[in-house]
């Protein structure tokens, strides 16, 4: 562990045209250019990894290993393709290999911010969730099988599109759709048992 941290307030999206230039330079051996790519994507990479392993140390190792492997895999990177889903897929694979670790994992619900106020801003115009409900919802998400949980987490908690979720998980888009449908149905059945209260304005 280095103790250094990154500013998580930076946008998660990179700049594709600049990515292509950096990738090209990195393929030519410019490690500094690759470090710039690491700087751009290490934040989202860490969240992707953490959602898979729920252990900060494992997530950090997965991210480091993934970036090093990605550097050596750059010759296989298709020119013009977006870098972000490619690196996030490598990160996901690294993380999932560690996700089977028998270490105690941290629950999503345990990461709900301690402060009860102010209430979170509504994500849509109609939905407001208080802290207790968010905890219950995320606890229910935690109880889903990994395959359903990751699809839902990447899609909604990381705001990935279905296409990007599919690329990141290395599955066809149709699989993401079916996993989302199945996972959300499971989640709803848990929530409709009266666990979570959702207010709609």
């Amino acid at each position: 562990m280095t103790g250094r941290t990154v500013n998580d307030q930076r946008p998660l999206q990179g700049r594709p045209s600049e990515d292509a230039i950096l990738v090209s330079r990195a393929r030519d051996g410019d490690v500094g250019a690759f470090e710039e790519l690491v700087t751009r994507y290490q934040g989202i990479a860490f969240r992707v990894a953490w959602l898979a392993v729920r252990d900060r140390g494992d997530a950090e190792e997965a991210v480091q290993d993934a970036f090093v492997k990605a550097y050596y895999a750059l010759p296989r990177f298709r020119p013009g393709a977006p870098f972000r889903p490619w690196i996030l897929r490598i990160v996901t694979n690294e993380a999932r290999n560690r996700g089977r670790s028998t270490r105690r994992r941290e629950g999503l619900a345990a990461r709900v911010a301690a402060s009860d106020s102010p209430r979170a801003a509504p994500a849509s115009e109609s939905t407001v969730l208080d802290r207790a409900d968010a905890e219950a919802l995320l606890a229910a998400l935690d109880r889903l099988p990994e395959r359903d949980r990751l699809v839902i987490a990447y899609r909604f908690l990381l705001e990935m599109t279905e296409a990007e979720t599919a690329e990141t998980l290395g599955v066809p888009p149709g699989t993401v759709k079916s996993r989302l449908s199945r996972g959300l149905a499971r989640l709803r059945s848990q929530l409709n048992a009266g666990v979570v209260e959702v207010e709609q304005a």
């Binding site: 280095t2 250094r4 941290t5 990154v6 998580d8 051996g29 490690v31 500094g32 690491v38 700087t39 290490q42 860490f46 969240r47 953490w50 900060r56 950090e60 190792e61 991210v63 480091q64 290993d65 970036f67 550097y71 010759p75 296989r76 290999n97 089977r100 028998t102 941290e106 990461r111 709900v112 911010a113 301690a114 979170a120 801003a121 509504p122 994500a123 849509s124 939905t127 407001v128 969730l129 802290r131 409900d133 968010a134 905890e135 919802l137 995320l138 839902i152 909604f156 908690l157 998980l169 599955v171 959300l184 989640l187 709803r188 409709n192 979570v196 209260e197 959702v198 207010e199 709609q200």
Partner: protein, 272 residues
């Protein structure tokens, strides 16, 4: 409106998930730029790993990766964790001794479903590779690890065991003199955790193919289904790849004897 009185719609659930995201106190992201850059520069500075090109045959690449890793480990100043991948098995080398090793060695229950050799081959869909130096195995297991998102995405493994003999002493803590695991494919479904401090590992060549030799206690994590199984390894282990399979042979024998056993396996039919 309070939704508790009526079933939540999928649309409401999607909105709730998006709203829940804003409550999450994400763990602070570590800054890995310096470590990643330093690792790449260290590997590039290793002459034998100067240019791992795609056009290079995979066997050559693996050899270089192992050689480079061992060179780096020899440098005391390099304290990063290294990963050596040999097909289905990833070997993770830590700069320090692992703080806690598992206490249990593999038992019959840990190795999968005990079956006959013919049943194992039928279930696996590939032939078991058997060293003629050991003769027919005394026990056989079949197991599978989930490697994808669908239940059919599995990688299978066959494990054969031979009872101890005068020339094949028992592996400490077990009733076996030799254990041979044959993993299908390249999915990482097993990993070994080694300590650079003890440094009891090195490269090995089996029939001209790159391999890894480890001696001394370490941790083996096997995936069974979708679950990890942490086991203590007390024997000496030879790992190598051939024809799309990854092999792991554990005995208490020395490196040369283990390689001789490995090389007594009849040519393996390539999965492709």
């Amino acid at each position: 409106m309070n939704e508790r009185s009526r079933p939540m719609t999928e649309s409401a659930l999607r909105d709730a998930l998006v709203a829940a995201r804003k409550h999450i106190d994400w763990p602070t992201s570590p800054d890995v730029v310096e470590d990643v850059g330093a690792t790449i520069r260290a590997m590039r500075a290793t002459p034998s790993l100067a240019a791992p090109r795609l056009s290079m045959p995979s066997r050559r690449r693996t050899l270089l990766a192992i050689a480079a890793a061992l060179v780096l480990l020899a440098g005391a100043a390099f304290a990063a964790r290294l990963v050596i991948e040999l097909g289905a098995i990833a070997v993770r080398v830590l700069p320090d001794r692992p703080t806690s090793l598992p206490t249990n060695v593999a038992t019959s229950d840990d190795l999968g479903r005990q079956v006959t050799l013919a049943e194992a081959e039928a279930a696996a869909g590939f032939p078991a590779a058997l060293p003629t130096a050991l003769g027919p195995p005394d026990h056989t297991w079949i197991d599978e690890a989930l490697v994808g998102f669908d239940p059919d995405d599995v990688a299978r493994r066959i494990v054969n065991a031979w009872q101890p003999t005068s020339g094949l002493p028992a592996i400490q803590g077990t009733e076996a003199g030799a254990l041979l695991m044959q993993f299908e494919g390249d999915w990482e479904i097993a990993s070994k955790l080694l300590s650079a401090e003890t440094g009891r590992f090195g490269h090995a060549i089996v029939e001209g193919r790159p391999g890894l030799w480890t001696a001394g206690e370490h941790e083996l994590e096997l995936i069974s289904g979708d679950e990890p199984l942490r086991l203590l390894v007390t024997g000496n282990v030879l790992i190598w790849q051939d024809a799309g399979y990854t092999f792991r042979l554990e005995t208490v024998l020395g490196k040369r004897a283990a390689i001789a056993i490995a090389e007594s396996i009849d040519p393996v039919v390539d999965q492709a």
